[in-house]
């Protein structure tokens, strides 16, 4: 039984990281209908910034984590300003092509730095003995990661539910002309959506980096791993991203723990999420929490 709970705990850890990674992706899609293909690069970039500040500059990790959130906030905002602002109103496919270009540019920039070819790992700053309770153990890094993720997700939910600015961002995703008519600056909302996406991606990157170590390919892969998560959750739902992230994490861990190695099956942890995704989409084509068009008859 404790094996089951152990898998569940690690499923939630992995899942909450998926959730945080997916959040930024959803934010951009929700406000501007753009699929940001370069999301994985931003996640990796966030992790590298934290590492560089902590290890090379020597700032305490808590401060460098917060600093990396601020830095990526403004970096992502300038990316939107420089590359995407002028594309507002252009066909969505051109905008997506630009994010593909952005992905290549960021790849190129990262390969110029040592991070592109070398693996690093964060210095241990938390107790190394795992916390264990009734046979279920969780490392301090994982626990802190989950807590930070929960705080960030909670803050985002509050922002979109209760802050006028957050509500107006949802308004933009609902009806752009009407938002303009009440005085919302739509380009500014797009900029803010990118900035917040950058911030959450950096948070996710730093947490992943602490748990798995810094390997560019691994970090970048999270940009692809969020696809099944966001599609399952419904592309434009923040709660959807969180719930689907955790579901995906659990499926992966249980598949790895129970299915792999039995009956001659291997690598199901990588395949099963997509199988379940397809099955769920058969019944709920908008995803679990995706927006339905409201039609009054």
């Amino acid at each position: 039984m404790s094996y089951f709970f152990q898998l569940m705990v690690s499923g939630i850890v992995v899942g909450s990281i998926y959730a945080l990674s997916a959040l930024g992706f959803v934010l951009i899609y929700k406000s501007s209908r753009v699929l940001n293909i370069a999301h994985g690069q931003i996640i990796a970039g966030g992790a590298f910034i934290v590492f560089a500040l902590t290890v090379w500059v020597g700032i305490p990790i808590v401060l460098s984590f917060l600093a990396s959130l601020v830095i990526t906030f403004f970096l992502a905002m300038s990316v939107e300003r420089i590359f995407l602002r002028r594309l507002i109103g252009e066909p969505i496919i051109s905008v997506i092509m630009v994010t593909i270009g952005l992905m290549s540019i960021l790849d190129g920039v990262i390969y110029l730095t040592p991070f592109g070819s070398m693996n690093y790992s964060f210095p241990e700053f938390l107790p190394t003995t795992p916390l264990s309770l009734g046979g279920v153990s969780i490392s301090w890094t994982q626990l802190v990661g989950v807590v930070i993720t929960a705080i960030l997700i909670g803050a985002f939910s509050w922002f979109f539910k209760s802050a006028t600015l957050g509500i107006s961002m949802r308004a933009v995703s609902d009806d752009q002309l009407a938002s303009m008519s009440v005085g919302i600056s739509v380009p500014r909302v797009f900029g803010l959506a990118w900035a917040l996406a950058g911030l959450s991606a950096a948070g996710a990157g730093a947490i992943i980096g602490n748990i798995t170590g810094l390997n560019y390919e691994t970090l970048r892969a999270f940009g692809i791993a969020v696809f099944p998560v966001v599609i399952l959750g419904g592309l434009d739902s923040i709660i959807g991203a969180v719930v689907a992230g955790i579901i995906m994490g659990l499926i992966q861990q249980f598949a790895a723990g129970y299915v792999d190695g039995n009956w001659g099956l291997n690598g199901t942890a990588d395949v099963l999420p997509y199988v379940i995704l397809l099955v769920i989409l058969l019944f709920k084509p908008h995803g679990l929490f995706g927006t339905h068009e409201i039609e009054r008859v």
Partner: protein
């Protein structure tokens, strides 16, 4: 009917029909604007109109006359449609707002309620109204009080604060859209066809509300309508548009009695008989104002 020469009531109405103190510069002044879409299609061909402070002004006309374009030009919402004011200028409160951004126009105090209501369907009634205050810099307490004021003004909305606006009825949505616009504390409220798609009884309600807003909140109102009868009944002054031009203007009371207006916009002949819709239409095609 031997159509009388179209009367152009360009008499100086401000002195004629209203208090002379209003003769100073109007709150909104649209001067001879020309609007083109996609650099080619000219929609407005020299539209001029004035909205004095504290009054209700109606802009009437049939489909495609350019009424909505005029409102969009004023509220800075031409850009998403690739439109541009090529000639002329618009002044609000003495400030030039020609080709200004929508956000800035709202900040200056002119807010539009778009055609077809356009509430935020996936936001609750409460959130819809709250979004209207996004440009304001006052304290939260002031805005909250203002928000409660909207519920006093539209008691129906207080009962459904948590419903998604997309599931509200047409009348409720129109109230939401108006309350949302009023949350910006505008000096001038522009309404684009508030009667569209509403039952006649609801239309009366909405127009009564518009009058109340004008009297109680002292908000200047510019209303675009196809329903000439009700718009003339509540407004002080009216303009009639056709193919991108103002073809007739005058105090609403006088326009109500104008035989052309009666025939073309209210479907009533000189003898007072109601004409069949079909007759009005075919006759109209041959009639030219200018």
């Amino acid at each position: 009917m031997g159509a009388p020469a179209p009367t152009r009531l360009r008499a100086d109405w401000r002195i004629d029909t209203m208090n002379t103190s209003l003769a100073d510069s109007p709150l909104l002044e649209v001067n001879n604007i020309e609007v083109v879409y996609n650099d080619i299609i000219q929609v407005l061909r020299g539209v001029s109109l004035a909205v004095p402070k504290g009054r209700i002004v109606a802009l009437l006309g049939t489909n495609g006359a350019g009424k909505t374009t005029t409102l969009r030009a004023i509220s800075g919402l031409l850009k998403p449609e690739n439109g541009f004011i090529r000639e002329g200028y618009i002044k609000f409160n003495g400030v030039d707002i020609t080709n200004q951004l929508g956000t800035d126009v709202v900040r200056l105090g002119a807010v539009m309620v778009p055609e077809g209501r356009r509430v935020f369907k996936h936001l609750t009634v409460e959130e819809n109204i709250r979004v209207g205050s996004v440009t304001r810099r006052e304290s939260l307490a002031v805005i909250r009080e203002n928000h409660q004021g909207m519920y006093r003004h539209f008691p129906r909305l207080a009962e459904i604060t948590n419903r998604l606006a997309g599931y509200c009825s047409g009348g409720e949505q129109q109230m939401i859209a108006i309350a949302r616009a009023l949350m910006a504390a505008p000096q001038m409220l522009m309404l684009d066809e508030p009667s569209l798609g509403l039952a006649p009884l609801l239309v009366k309600d909405i127009f009564r509300n518009i009058q109340v807003i004008n009297q109680e909140l002292k908000t200047t109102i510019l209303v675009v309508e196809q329903n000439a009868k009700i718009a003339l009944a509540i407004s002080d002054y009216a303009y009639i548009m056709e193919s991108g031009k103002i073809v007739l203007e005058g105090a609403s009371r006088e326009l109500q009695d104008n035989p052309d207006v009666k025939e073309f916009y209210m479907g009533i002949t000189q003898s007072g008989r109601r004409k069949s819709f079909k007759e009005v239409k075919s006759y109209k095609r041959r009639k030219r104002w200018m």
